[in-house]
Subunit: 232 residues, 2 copies
DNA sequence: ATTGGAGTAAATCTTTGGGTTGATATTTTG
DNA sequence: CAAAATATCAACCCAAAGATTTACTCCAAT
């Protein structure tokens, strides 16, 4: 897999000029890395990323001008294969979580020793994901808390279990935005039959209309082929 | 925080009797741990957990009788403060992800050295989360892949951006299952005005009815106070 | 000063949705 | 086998939702 290319190309984006300079010198000292760009502007950084397609991008995510997280997202959308390492002054769980969610391959604190910075770059360059164990713990606490409510809320009885197979089919089509006619057509039954099913669904889910039925379904694990999401 | 209690209590659940015995001996050798139970049955294990409320539970998640992941969920629901460490023969990303999602404080492979097992227990007992770096990488790859599709799908224009502030308010109430009357009452405007807004929303989102509007909103990042979820 | 967007509202009309009752065939299950 | 649950359909009615048009006010941009 190692190609013929001699050095891995690194792009630095950090609005603190002093820190930027320091990191640049530090990385330049490493024989295997080549700093192809260093800028204090997120927008310029994004353009440099487009231009040079660096192997590694060190991105400060606490910048005033443009949100560093947004910048990560923008760069990820470009579909370059650059590996982004988030640089931050804070070990805030939410920041870490969001950075990782957006595709950052690492997250390091500015206060960390320079040796650790190099180590992180090495690891990420090697295709791994680098999170110092302290931050990793933060991440997992946050991660697990995000799912806690789910588990708790699911102790209330799930009314979906009372639906018959046919009713589930109908509900599934409801959650795809179909009206009576659409459902009737797709299930090859009459519209009045669909109405009967839908009415039974309303009774069982204890709701008054289709919108509430759809919401109940989506909020109570009616997964059916639907991509569900998590709060950003 | 350290209490007057001398030893931390550990419960072992592993359907492989040999492995169970080995781990039990290993842990008993450690002066700071006390094995309060060791069973090859997940169900018995759950009952032992209820009875002893151990500090640490080592749970094998590859058991035929009962799914170990299910057992983790069951124990978590009991609301004991036991910290569960998942034990597995496989470093499957999906398994790791699901175990952590269910609240496991650690995940270790049966093939790992005994010193590492003890280290993991120490770390978890100290309130940290322990994932060997190799597994941690697996986890993050899986984690980021789960969010990839989201980011990609969002390259299609988000029609929600065209909504006015008022329309967003109305849509928000729609996504809570309100009808015209309910929305009118909550916004202190007439029902006909609500209809106007809703119709404008339909135009802008290019949908035909409220259910489709709600679905569009939920599928396109209309987060508004709503707990969103992620596929299990 | 005036244009345009946003929010408000009413009138009208058509379609869809929701509730009810009752009927029949099929399947499940005790 | 008999009883119960499920799936099918019809006819009915009323309420709610959706489409369209018109119009007034306020506010911001020019």
């Amino acid at each position: 897999m190692r190609e013929f290319r001699s050095k891995l190309r690194v792009l630095l984006i950090d609005d603190n000029a002093d820190h930027l300079r320091g990191v640049k010198e530090l990385i330049t000292l490493e024989s295997c890395y080549d700093v192809v760009g260093a800028t204090t502007s997120a927008n310029i950084g994004i353009n440099l990323a487009k231009k040079y397609r660096p192997d590694i991008i060190l991105m400060d995510i606490n910048m005033p001008e443009k949100d560093g997280l947004q910048a990560i997202q923008d760069i990820e959308k470009l579909g370059l294969n650059s590996k982004i390492i988030a640089l931050s002054g804070y070990d805030d769980a939410d920041l870490i979580f969001r950075a990782m969610k957006l595709g950052a391959k690492g997250y390091i604190l500015k206060t960390m020793a320079s040796a650790q910075l190099i180590y992180a770059i090495d690891e990420v360059a090697a295709g791994k994901i680098y999170l110092p164990s302290a931050l990793s713990s933060r991440f997992f606490e946050y991660f697990q808390r995000s799912f806690k409510e789910e588990a708790v809320s699911s102790d209330t009885e799930n009314l979906l279990t009372y639906l018959t197979a046919r009713e589930e089919e109908v509900l599934d089509l409801l959650t795809q935005g179909n009206n009576y006619k659409g459902i009737a057509g797709k299930l090859f039954i009459s519209e009045t039959t669909v109405k009967t099913h839908v009415n039974n669904i309303f009774q069982k889910l204890q709701v008054n209309d289709r919108t509430q039925a759809v919401l109940y379904a989506l909020n109570n694990g009616f997964a059916n082929k639907r991509k569900t999401k998590m709060a950003v």
